[in-house]
Amino acid sequence: MTYGLFLSATDKKPMYLQIVEQITSKVLLGDWPADMALPSIRELAAATQVSVITVKRAYAELEQAGVIVTQAGRGSFVSPHPDLQQQLKQQELAQLLQAAVALARQLQLTDAELAAQLEQQLQQSSAQSSAG
């Protein structure tokens, strides 16, 4: 079984990042509930056919992000933190906003122009939800 992880070798994203993102989604969606035991590093490596070092790195990043906790000798588990979902979604929002700002800078928009575009998006979205 691949634990529902589908890794692509041709995706430009590095393998460890694909693992991090896919496990994070599963946790966010609730597919992998709080306190669930994760497969061991070697088990996941064999199942997804990636090197042990890659899975180790993914697990390390997941632990740093607070998505999982690792207990020495017992393995890794989905974080029991009640606000985990909220936290992760906040992180995701912050990252998206960061990316938007970077892109805006590349396009050489002023802060006001960017804010205006954000306004526009907000208005469009509330128009859609009240119409639909």
Binding site: A9, P14, R42, A46, V50, S51, V52, I53
Partner: protein, 292 residues
């Protein structure tokens, strides 16, 4: 103290048109090492030294704790070797080979071998001369995998295989990852396979080790940038492996991405338009080109 799957130190070997000097190569137990290099770089020579088939002029070699070539018999009971220039006996069947290997190695797992026969879609009663190239490669690998050896040394295990056969072989190799007492050394032109499965990358060129590093760090350290330069500026910056410039746009490849190379680009007045992670294949080509 960490045990090593193999440990080569200070290796010197000389052939009429090829030499290796002071080669140091080691793999901790439980890991996978991918050996990368052009034909003639020294991969096969390295592998033959590990198998005790060739004796270096100087240096020490230990495989699974055994000194080579002195203790090669004990070592070979626990090493599984397969190379693409190795052949089985044409006039005999695959089952004959399986029985022969079984008579030599007590750990040969008959049940697992039967299972592999099915998975690799091979027929025991078929004579080796009737097998296609891909089937032959799978047959050799079957004989080696069924013993569950502590160290697998594979020289081009997937070369010449069709995508389906390659997938079958990689699947079986990945099973070895489960066991932290088993290690793998494999050389391959399929950099994709090396990129996916290796914990360590060893890069050989003309008998020299260009790189020996854990895969993640190694892949992180290489990057390709597309930059915009101020007008009239020549693209020149330390740490670049290759630079291709046309007008104000330049493509710059570096192997020092981990050492604040992006900041140096900015400091040099370059505007980074795009940054890409490089595949092992692209790194391979860039690395070899720069040493020519």
């Amino acid at each position: 103290m960490q045990s090593f799957a193999f440990d080569m130190r200070g290796i010197d070997i000389r052939y009429p048109h090829f030499a290796m000097e002071n080669l140091n190569l080691a793999l901790p137990q439980g890991q996978v090492m991918g050996l990368v290099g052009v034909n003639g770089a020294g991969k096969s020579t390295t592998i033959r030294m590990l198998m005790g088939l060739v004796k270096p002029a100087a240096g020490q070699i230990e495989v699974l704790g055994y000194k080579m070539p002195a203790q090669q018999v004990q070592a070979k009971y626990e090493i599984g070797f397969a190379s693409d220039d190795m052949r089985l006996y044409k006039s005999q069947t695959l089952q004959w080979h399986m029985d022969f290997v079984h008579s030599i190695y007590p750990q040969f797992d008959q049940a697992y071998a039967k299972d592999l026969l099915k998975r690799f879609e091979l027929i025991g009663e078929q004579k080796i001369k009737g097998l296609s190239h891909g089937q032959r490669v799978k047959a050799s690998l079957l004989l080696v995998l069924a013993r569950r050896p502590k160290l697998l040394i594979l020289d081009e295990p997937t070369t010449g295989l069709d995508p389906v056969a390659r997938d079958e072989v990689i699947s079986e190799l990945a099973e070895v990852l489960r066991d932290d007492a088993r290690s793998v050394l494999f050389s391959s032109h399929n950099t994709h396979d090396i990129e996916k499965l290796s914990d360590q990358i060893a890069f050989l060129d003309r008998g020299k080790l260009l790189a020996l590093q854990d895969k993640e760090t190694y892949l992180d350290s290489w990057s390709r940038f597309r930059c915009q330069l101020p007008p009239g500026r020549q693209a020149d910056i330390t740490g670049a492996v290759s630079i291709r410039q046309q007008g104000q746009l330049a493509e710059i490849i570096t192997d020092q991405n981990n050492h604040d190379f992006p900041q140096r680009l900015v400091q040099a007045g370059f505007t980074v338009l795009e940054q890409h992670r490089m595949s092992l294949e692209e790194i391979f080509v860039a690395n070899v080109k720069r040493s020519r």
